[in-house]
């Protein structure tokens, strides 16, 4: 499909990785230039599942466009929806009830754990261990069931509405979440035994794909990728939304900037998310789960921006309104795109096996990059 880039050096080999390849986690197409097994250059080719979501949003009302974003980063669909809802609320100055805020945060953190658990399995699979993938899915299934009960769906939850959430929590919610917490805590230690301290895994990830702090900032690599490079960029801490400022949790930051540091950040974040859920699960305030809003929302003329921390990094929503019922222009700042842009920088000089480990540690979701 793509013409092979003839390398200046005739000894070089150009290799198409993807769009159908087991470790690109979707339809990502990388054109890599090799010398032996050493990577000289990586060119990502995007657009295989571009669905022009931003353009589609322009023809949807402010209640509807939120749900299209579930199809972008489908592993943190809930958090994407959250970002969009926040932006609309900000524009209309809607006060979200306390109960709705807590429910939103609970769901966000559950989504984050579900996403990180899946990443853990996929990362292990990328470096060649297949078993963790299945163990990860066992835990993810529990979260999916909780989501299914309350939101009615397992992957694209569509639970957020401007002003709160769509329905109240299911009566079983608290019991099942508590069950999950106690189960998952022991499993996290098992994860550490299986992979974190594994010497082969350490060899495959330590000092591989180093991204220094300055580079992380200039590439705009946020989320665990940025924090693995020592950049404290957690939106939940830097620009708290909902009730995050009242919660006790730490921003996990590692200094090394290699694949293993990014791995440790995500493992730490799962523990932090668990602690957030533990703080909230017994303290869900009573009251409304949704603020009273008009049936048809019209944003005042102007430009609005809000951002949230998804499992992959900073997700920004930028709405330009001309005062009508649909947005004039929407732009999403998706974390995956910026993180992918650092791939070439990180993988130069490494081996093919390392490229796979680096891609795994970036936690790429292709629909999030292509939109």
């Amino acid at each position: 499909m793509f013409k092979e880039v003839l390398a200046e050096d005739q000894d070089c080999l150009t290799l198409n990785v993807g769009p159908q390849h087991p470790s690109t986690h979707g339809v990502l197409h990388l054109v890599i230039t090799l010398k032996g097994e050493t990577i000289l250059r990586v060119d990502p080719h995007l657009g295989y599942i571009h669905r022009s979501i931003e353009k589609m949003c322009e023809s949807l009302s402010y209640r509807q466009f939120i749900y299209v974003t579930s199809r972008m980063d489908y592993l943190s669909a809930h958090i994407n929806n959250h970002g969009c809802a926040l932006c609309v609320e900000k524009a209309l100055q809607i006060e979200v009830p306390q109960r709705a805020q807590v429910i939103r945060v609970l769901m966000d953190e559950l989504t984050r754990i579900a996403s990180h658990v899946l990443w853990w399995g996929a990362m292990a699979m990328d470096v060649g261990a297949i078993t963790p993938f299945f163990h990860a899915f066992r835990e993810r299934e529990m979260i999916n069931e909780i989501m299914e009960e309350t939101c009615g769906a397992r992957l694209t939850m569509n639970y957020m509405v401007p002003g709160g959430v769509m329905y109240d929590l299911h009566p079983n919610f608290q019991r099942r979440v508590k069950q999950f917490i106690s189960f998952f805590k022991s499993k996290l230690n098992e994860y550490d035994e299986l992979l974190t301290d594994n010497i082969i895994f350490k060899q495959r990830t330590q000092h591989i794909g180093v991204l220094r702090r300055e580079d992380a900032i200039s590439f705009g690599a946020t989320g665990p990728v940025g924090r693995g490079s020592g950049w404290a960029c957690d939106v939940r801490k830097r620009a708290p939304y909902e009730c995050y400022h009242q919660l006790q949790f730490e921003q996990v930051v590692e200094q090394a900037g290699d694949c293993y540091a990014r791995y440790l950040v995500r493992m730490g974040e799962m523990r932090q998310s668990l602690s957030i859920i533990e703080q909230l699960i017994d303290n869900i305030p009573s009251g409304d789960y949704q603020a009273k809003t008009k049936a048809v929302l019209k944003l005042p003329k102007g430009e609005y921006y809000s951002r949230v921390e998804t499992a992959r990094g900073e997700f920004g929503v930028y709405i330009v309104s001309d005062g009508g019922t649909t947005p004039y222009r929407i732009k999403f700042r998706s974390p995956g795109f910026s993180n992918l842009s650092a791939l070439d920088h990180m993988s130069r000089g490494h081996k093919i096996g390392d490229l796979v480990a680096i891609m795994g540690s970036l936690d790429l979701v292709i629909p999030d990059i292509d939109r």
């Binding site: 080999l13 290799l15 390849h21 087991p22 470790s23 097994e37 292990a124 699979m125 990328d126 470096v127 060649g128 261990a129 297949i130 078993t131 993938f133 299945f134 163990h135 066992r138 299986l194 992979l195 594994n198 082969i200 895994f201 060899q203 495959r204 081996k351 093919i352 096996g353 390392d354 490229l355 796979v356």
Partner: protein, 358 residues
């Protein structure tokens, strides 16, 4: 008592009575050939099924359980699918070499069966340099991998084949050294004599630490030689899609697949012969009653139990560890296993010369 040896002798006598010496021998050659092919087919089915069940057990899932009782016919169904599939040859491939590679691979695996003693006095060819023969023949399989990678006209295949070449040639050394440890202790290269030497106890128990170290090195080295995870760099699913056999489909792919499992079987069988006494039953000092009960168990069961123990360990590796990178793989061999193997061999030689083993 019905044993494998008894059955074979009866068949031999029956044939000789009816056909005369020369014709009987000719018929027996044909029978042995058929046996090897049949054994391979059964081995492939059993080992693939075992691998799927073992992996399912380690991965908290059920594994195949729909076709036949307990899913046992699943592998047979898969084989039928593979046989009936079209075997594609990619454009630009070297047709002759492309078709030669899987055949070479499977022939090498079949040749390796020759010196293996399946039970007491049941052996296809008791060559006097048995273990050397195995080492020599098994390294030919690297040729098949290189041919497959080169002739496929695919960059992934080529990369996989080059990795495999470096890997098999390196790990051959360690495997050879750990085999030598036992050869030194037994004083023979002949498989039957190595087993005889373990009449009073398996080398694993009699040979102190050096044999244990040799066994561990042997296990690591053969895992690498048979291209299985964590050393499956030639295939490296997440990096090279399927490595050297990316372009193979249908029966030709099945031959590679079968050869991999056959190699695992042969490697485990040699391991069982060297370290655990092959078909030799477990004997404990002067416990006569215990020893007699152990003798009562047929020797073929002893052999297959030990072999399948090793096969299970190799499968266990595969479903537990992440994959190494090519430079780390070679580093492990040249910097750690090879020096350790040489020192270990010296220690074992000292023990053998001084007669310090039990």
């Amino acid at each position: 008592m019905i044993s494998l040896e008894f059955i074979l002798q009866s068949v031999d006598r029956w044939l000789r009575d009816r056909l005369g010496h020369e014709v009987a021998v000719a018929v027996e050659y044909v029978l042995v050939g058929l046996f090897v092919i049949l054994f391979f087919a059964v081995l492939g089915l059993v080992l693939v099924f075992m691998e799927r069940k073992v992996s399912a057990w380690m991965q908290v899932r059920l594994g195949p359980n729909r076709v036949g009782p307990g899913g046992t016919l699943q592998t047979l169904a898969d084989t039928i699918k593979l046989v009936s599939k079209e075997g594609l040859t990619p454009a630009g491939a070297d047709r002759f070499l492309f078709n030669l590679a899987p055949v070479l691979m499977i022939v090498v695996s079949m040749l390796l069966l020759a010196p293996i003693a399946f039970a007491r006095n049941v052996q296809l060819w008791d060559i006097n340099i048995g273990v050397l023969y195995v080492s020599a023949i098994s390294s030919v399989s690297v040729l098949a991998v290189l041919i497959a990678g080169w002739s496929s006209n695919n960059k992934y295949s080529l990369l996989g084949a080059m990795r495999s070449g470096a890997q098999i040639v390196s790990y051959e050394l360690s495997a050879g050294l750990s085999v030598l440890t036992i050869v030194v202790l037994s004083g023979s290269l002949q498989v039957s004599q190595i087993i005889e030497a373990q009449q009073t106890g398996w080398w694993l128990f009699r040979g102190h630490v050096p044999v244990l170290v040799a066994m561990i090195i042997y296990l690591i080295a053969v895992t690498a030689e048979t291209n299985r995870a964590p050393f499956d760099l030639a295939e490296a699913e997440s990096e090279l899609t399927a490595g050297f056999h990316t372009e193979y489909s249908g029966m030709r792919f099945a031959l590679f697949f079968l050869a991999e499992y056959a190699n695992v079987f042969v490697a485990s069988a040699i391991g069982a012969i060297l370290f655990l006494g092959g078909w030799m039953p477990l004997h404990l000092g002067n416990w006569d009653a215990f020893n007699r009960i152990m003798d009562w168990i047929p020797s073929s069961i002893w052999f297959f139990a030990k072999t399948f123990f090793f096969i299970f360990v190799i499968m266990w590796f595969r479903w537990t560890f992440p994959r190494l990178r090519i430079d780390q793989l070679l580093e492990l061999e040249w910097k750690y296993l090879l020096p350790l193997g040489i020192v270990n061999l010296l220690v074992a030689t000292t023990i053998a010369v001084a007669g310090w083993y039990f």
